[in-house]
């Protein structure tokens, strides 16, 4: 890696977790993470954060909305 290896690792973080890195970049990130506690902790943190955002942001459909949607069945295309 050229420059600060932790900066480069940070740059690869999102694509690493999205699994969109090239094979070469993947090896580059994994090689660095194996020996760098600082970056490894931040990668694990980011992974947990993504799961937390997903679960925190979920709000179930309010009761009654399904019945309203069901009433829309059969709407005429010309209306």
């Amino acid at each position: 890696m050229s420059g600060d290896p932790c900066d480069r690792c940070e740059e690869l973080l999102q694509d690493f977790l999205d699994r969109t890195l090239t094979d070469v970049e993947w090896q580059e990130a994994e090689g660095h993470l194996a020996g760098c506690d600082f970056c490894a902790r931040r990668y694990r943190f980011e992974e947990s954060l993504r799961r937390y955002v997903r679960t925190s942001a979920v709000e179930r459909m309010p009761p009654g909305l399904m019945a309203k949607l069901d009433e829309l069945r059969g709407l005429d295309a010309s209306v």
Partner: protein, 194 residues
Amino acid sequence: MSEPDPDTEARRIATQARDRARFEEEALSLADQVYRVARRLVGSREEAEDLVQETYARAFRSWSSYTPGTNMRAWLLRILTNLNVDRGRKIQRTPQTQPLEESDYYLANKMAAAAGEEVLEADDVVERLSQGSVVKALSEIPPQFRDAVVLVDIGDFTYADAAQILDVPIGTVMSRLHRGRRALKQHLAEEVSP
């Protein structure tokens, strides 16, 4: 030209009614997932309910333009995001300015600075951020970035589906997603003590 055979015509009508009923059943089975995404794209529960109802009204009217076997959830979300843009996102309270670009480690660095580097090893580290703060932070990031984050990170859409829903190239989805996630972390970092 001969008159259509009444039996053939009756069969055609019956087939169409069956196809339509199947379409409606499948669309309604996705309502909870559609609402979940809608709720995070707009500012209030009431607006999300209205938007989902408008989406289903439009979908049911134009059911014949849906190609069976393709991704119906993405098709419904495409209608929903278009309606949302048409409505001018009127109820949202979002800053007009672009957020400052902080780094991807920004939130973790701030938490480590506040509570020590070891805090990042704790299993419950992210739970130190309140559930409400995640929802608030999502509502505060610029709409075009939020759309990408909500579709991919909450709606579980692929980049390709999100690109189709938002009618932008995949590269644009990726760029908005990256920036949206950074902006989200920046807002979350505001509740971490310096």
